[in-house]
């Protein structure tokens, strides 16, 4: 009798461990899936930029520095691979350089009438949005995975099977957190 109770208990514990393990795996897969989404959008942005620079060049003769900043930021972002934090920083610089390019473009009415430029602007705006939304989804899934890894009782199983907490993808620029300076 005691033996069978012991066996039943063992089976229950085993099933429980399996379900916790599966939850961890699901959470980790979601993080990976979310990361690949970000990756797709970042690559798409790299592909769009040379086109944009080419289109804009003829109109913005006096903005060589802005254009060079974009090209350089893109090269640097492409060169970095692996580390999430380093990539986030490089992509962040690229985002900013693009933003200043579009801000400067406001001064060129001819450019704003160019169909090709408008189409590219819509594409890049959308890609920026997708990066932001994919990042949000990625961070949500990282939050869930890390919670599972740190909280009892799933932390025991996470430790046993070597699940590691993931890093959040922060895109906010450090400058954005500061108050804007106003100079006269």
């Amino acid at each position: 009798m005691v033996f069978w109770i012991f066996v039943a208990l063992l089976v229950v514990v085993l099933l429980w461990v399996v379900s916790l393990y599966n939850r961890l795996v699901r959470a980790r897969n979601e993080v990976r899936n979310a990361w690949s989404q970000i990756d797709v959008q970042l690559k798409r942005r790299w592909d769009l930029i040379p086109n944009l620079v080419e289109t804009v060049k003829g109109y913005m003769r006096h903005e060589r520095e802005t254009l060079e900043a974009v090209t350089k930021a893109r090269q640097q972002a492409v060169a970095i691979s692996g580390d999430v934090a380093a990539r986030a920083q490089a992509e962040n610089i690229l985002s900013q350089s693009l933003r200043s390019l579009f801000a400067v473009a406001e001064n060129y009415p001819e450019l704003k009438a160019n169909q090709n430029f408008l189409a590219l602007q819509e594409e890049l705006t959308s890609t920026e949005n997708k990066i932001a939304f994919a990042r949000q989804y990625y961070n949500d899934s990282v939050y869930r995975l890390n919670n599972l890894i740190q909280m009892f009782p799933s932390n025991i199983i996470a430790k046993q099977f070597g699940f590691k907490p993931e890093v959040y993808f922060e895109l906010e620029a450090p400058q954005e957190r500061q108050r804007p300076e106003v100079r006269f």
């Binding site: 169909q115 819509e122 594409e123 705006t125 959308s126 997708k130 939304f133 994919a134 989804y137």
Partner: protein, 399 residues
């Protein structure tokens, strides 16, 4: 998000069970009242339900799309719409973006369909594309994608089929009882001495359709609130959906493409204008003004908990609308508004261009900046530009 879906599923399952019990009870009542044969009554109810459910799911979304006259658009037809749909499906982590359809209607409205998240579709009217800015469009699409993500189409379809079965059965029984040979039945029942059961059956036949309808409508309204909450969270910009709802209400006219079965899937009731107070109980959608007020009461950050809080404050109801499990999810900061570079005229042009393209018009850009839109019935080989007179070759677009 998964917590919400799971909690939703639990609650929906409970409601499904209650509705199924009501269906069985109606079957029993009809059998009891008409022939003193409860078991065949239940079997007939179950059989009818299976038949109708099979019909509903076999036909499925494709029929809904075809009946409504919606037409599929590609990215070239309307890049902004297509991009916004992609953005929102990235934000909600859908396995793949839903297909995009457009409806040739002036009233701004939108709906979602598809019993599976990987085979879903979002439909918008031309009026919606014409009136809404990018941020507003994003809110509407996020609401529809939340419907898809929360599996609302499946639940509402299953529920609607049950309600339909109950209504058909009860209606049939009522006609036989009150207009047919009811007297013979009554004597036989009193001889069996089952008068209380008979009375209960009559009461059920009279009340079941009403109860079923009210339950269904309550579910439908709850799902609308949840889709609003999901949209606010996915866009991180509740104001987008709020001002979209304002415009949709302002330019509201009934939609010919909608029917009572598809009405709950629209962002705003396409058949009757959303009413406040008592008639609200019989409405598929919550009052639009209430939805707007809830969406406007966020400050700084959005979360399901914040939506629930706002819901309780605006409606004055003690119990919130969001399942407990979703309340623990983290909050996201509200993002700033973005400026839509398109003017109202450009939006109108983009919306009508889609319809023209779908009707087979050929678009020929002229070097002077004009775009020639050639109807499919034009048989000539060449066409001069009306502005600069340059001749253009006309090539019929592939159908």
């Amino acid at each position: 998000m998964w917590e919400l879906i799971r909690a939703n599923q639990r609650r929906s399952h409970l409601l499904l069970v209650v509705m199924a019990l009501l269906l069985v009870a109606t079957g029993w009542a009809v059998g009891e009242a008409l022939a003193a044969a409860p078991v065949p009554g239940i079997l007939i109810a179950a059989g009818l339900w299976v038949f109708l459910a099979e019909l509903a799911f076999r036909a499925g979304d494709q029929v809904i799309l075809r009946i409504s006259g919606a037409r599929k658009v590609s990215k070239e037809d309307h890049p902004v719409l297509y991009n916004v749909v992609e953005e929102m499906s990235v934000a909600s982590g859908l396995p793949k973006p839903p297909e995009v359809y457009i409806l040739d209607e002036g009233a701004p409205n939108a709906f979602a369909t598809g019993t599976r998240p990987d085979r879903a579709a979002v439909v918008v009217t031309a009026g919606l594309l014409e009136r809404l800015t990018r941020d507003e469009l994003q809110g509407v699409i996020a609401h529809e994608i939340s419907h898809i993500k929360h599996r609302d189409v499946v639940y509402l379809t299953v529920m609607a089929v049950m309600v339909g079965t109950i209504v058909i059965l009860a209606d049939f029984a009522r006609r036989v009882l009150f207009y047919g040979g009811g007297t013979r039945r009554r004597t036989s029942s009193s001889s069996r001495g089952a008068a209380p059961l008979y009375l209960l059956a009559i009461v059920l036949i009279l009340l079941a359709p009403l109860i079923a309808r009210l339950m269904y409508l309550a579910l439908s309204r709850r799902r609308e609130y949840l889709a609003d909450a999901g949209a606010a969270l996915a866009t991180r910009y509740p104001e987008g959906l709020a001002s979209a709802l304002e415009k949709i209400e302002q330019y509201w006219t009934p939609l010919a493409a909608a029917n009572p079965a598809t009405a709950p899937m629209f962002i705003v009731n396409p058949l009757t204008k959303a009413a406040e107070t008592i008639t609200g109980l019989f409405s598929t959608h919550p009052p639009t003004r209430e939805r707007i007020r809830i969406l406007r009461s966020f400050a700084g950050s959005v979360s399901f908990a914040a939506y629930d809080e706002a819901f309780r404050q605006v409606t004055g109801r003690p119990v919130g609308v969001v399942p407990a499990a979703a309340l623990r999810l983290p909050a996201t900061a509200v993002r700033p508004a973005t400026s839509d570079p398109r003017t109202a005229l450009e939006r109108l042009r983009q919306a009508t261009d889609v319809l023209w393209r779908l009707s087979g018009f050929a678009f020929i850009p002229c070097s002077c900046g004009t775009t020639l839109k050639v109807p499919p019935v034009y048989r000539g080989q060449e066409l001069p530009c009306p502005h600069c007179g340059a001749l253009h070759k006309v090539v019929a677009p592939s159908p």
